[in-house]
Symmetry: C2
Subunit: 324 residues, 2 copies
């Protein structure tokens, strides 16, 4: 502040009045101060303000898999949206482990982060209590509500219906799913949705055609191999995300199984590589940029004093490509 | 510590002796304390120690493009390697902008991070001075030395020679490059290497066949379109990284130009998607996991007191696939 005052040839108090708007300042004085601020590259923002109040300008984005492009896009959007506040986004990878999820939350608490955006994987809602008590805003991006945190949640019913419609039109009856692990917090809402809607399309998702694993390419390959070894072999496979679907494609190619000729494949998320693979992956798009914008908005509202909990729904979209 | 003491039924001082090894402790007491530590999941590590000395347990990984899988892999490896020390990796995206690079370094300094690993893009070596002065270890991952920081650097001469050999065998003579921006710190060593080695393979990299842009898919598409509009049209295009190469493939497909039939394409890095695209991308692999292990080792040595500067070379490798 004193640098600005010196450059503008005014007192520090005057700079403070210009910034806070608390007292009237002559137009040419205001201009001189603003020019000095611009010249010095001095960021005037709420983050700087919160810094003075003992809180950092950092927001942690805590995700289960930093290598999943969905989260890279989410990080980029959050950064873009919160940049005007001088906020820095720090991306933290939990590798879907609860101990790491908790350790990172503890770190965010200790360092008095300005906020947290998290996609919990094995965390429990009570793990957020300490942050809530400390008044650090937390936005959860998940498929189902998570305790009392602000929430960004998909509305995927229509898109899942369209996917099932398409699979039905391709005359597939034996649908299967490569789902996430059984012990993920909140269960597996993508699996539940598919199971609920399947009967409307003349099919079902029998228990024996659900295989489980981590959200990884390796787990996708293993899950696909397992399904192909079943006596009641599926002719359409839904995957909990696109990373898993790529693993399934690896294995199909290895086993000489034609996609979509023998087995139709549906991903989830629409990661950028979904259109790079051959055949191009049919998937349910969950737009990371919209999720990021919603999360940024929820954080901003908290910075500005909102105290009641909010939920924002983001619409998923069926993307028909070549794998069904 | 008092939790551990209570659980083990000993005094806090005893726990402290076990941890520090400063005084002898009876074997069964030591065992009781260690069991209590294990049970409570209490991490005894240098990070916790440094925390007590006022330094955080966070290491910032500062990268130009968080969406580039090279950096996601680097982050995952760093995390894996430093986990035993209780270190958390925070990934920060600079979007290749110097102001963001500097702001993130300032943040790392202010929060007394345990260390920084950075791939500078437009930063200047002097921007690291404050961190050096504060004794915060910095490891630079770059193609050329960067001031007095510890360095992880590629040895890519042999791999680039093999790529040129392969391009020559495919009877290509008019080679081009889609390079990074002109104002990147340290210039463009991948371009320089290609220019230096090309004459050994009966060709050259003329100035008119070098186009420049950011390290993005969009820039790759634009660069490829520009090269294809030249009168002296290239029949082999090298790209500064695989993300650029994917953009070039997008454009080739849009223009109906066959790869490798009409134009051979060589990427750099071997991102995971290089084997997903069709044709599969021929590239120069720079192993992110080895870079991560080297960077982690350099940081650890600094934590342990090394004061002289070190450089580690990581070997690049030519990966022949289907795009040449």
């Amino acid at each position: 502040m004193s640098d600005v005052a010196r450059a503008a040839g005014v007192s520090s108090a005057t700079v403070s009045y210009v910034l806070s708007g608390k007292r009237p300042v002559a137009p040419q004085t205001r201009e001189a101060v603003e020019a000095a601020i611009a010249e010095l590259g001095f960021a005037v923002n709420t983050a700087a303000r919160s810094l003075r109040t003992g809180r950092s300008s950092m927001v942690a984005l805590i995700v289960p898999d930093i290598a999943n492009p969905f989260f890279a896009q989410l990080a980029a959007t959050l950064q873009e949206e919160l940049r005007g506040l001088g906020i820095h986004i720090l991306v933290c990878n939990t590798r879907a482990r609860r101990d790491e999820e908790r350790a990172l939350l503890a770190e965010a608490l200790q360092q008095r982060f300005a906020g947290v955006v998290i996609t919990p994987f094995r965390l429990l809602p009570r793990d957020l209590d300490a942050l809530h008590q400390a008044g650090i805003p937390v936005v959860v991006s998940a498929d189902v509500p998570f305790g009392s945190a602000d929430l960004v949640v998909p509305e995927a019913k229509a898109a899942t219906r369209q996917a099932l419609e398409k699979v039905k039109a391709a005359r597939r009856r034996r649908i299967a799913m490569i789902a996430g692990p059984r012990d993920a917090t909140g269960g597996d809402p993508r699996l539940e949705l598919l199971r609920t809607l399947a009967p409307q399309f003349g099919t079902s998702l029998p228990r024996e055609l659900v295989v489980r694993g981590e959200h990884s390419r390796e787990a996708g390959a293993a899950g696909f191999a397992e399904l192909m070894s079943r006596r009641y072999r599926p002719d359409a496979v839904f995957c909990a995300n696109d990373v898993i679907a790529i693993g399934a494609m690896d294995k199909a190619s290895e086993l000489g199984i034609d996609i979509p000729g023998e087995v139709a494949l549906v991903g989830h998320d629409d990661a950028f590589f979904a259109s790079l693979v051959r055949p191009q992956l049919t998937t349910i798009r969950y737009p990371a940029d919209e999720v990021g914008r919603a999360a940024a908005r929820l954080l901003k509202e908290r910075f500005e004093g909102r105290s009641v909990r909010r939920t924002v729904q983001v619409k998923a979209e069926f993307i028909a490509r070549a794998s069904v």
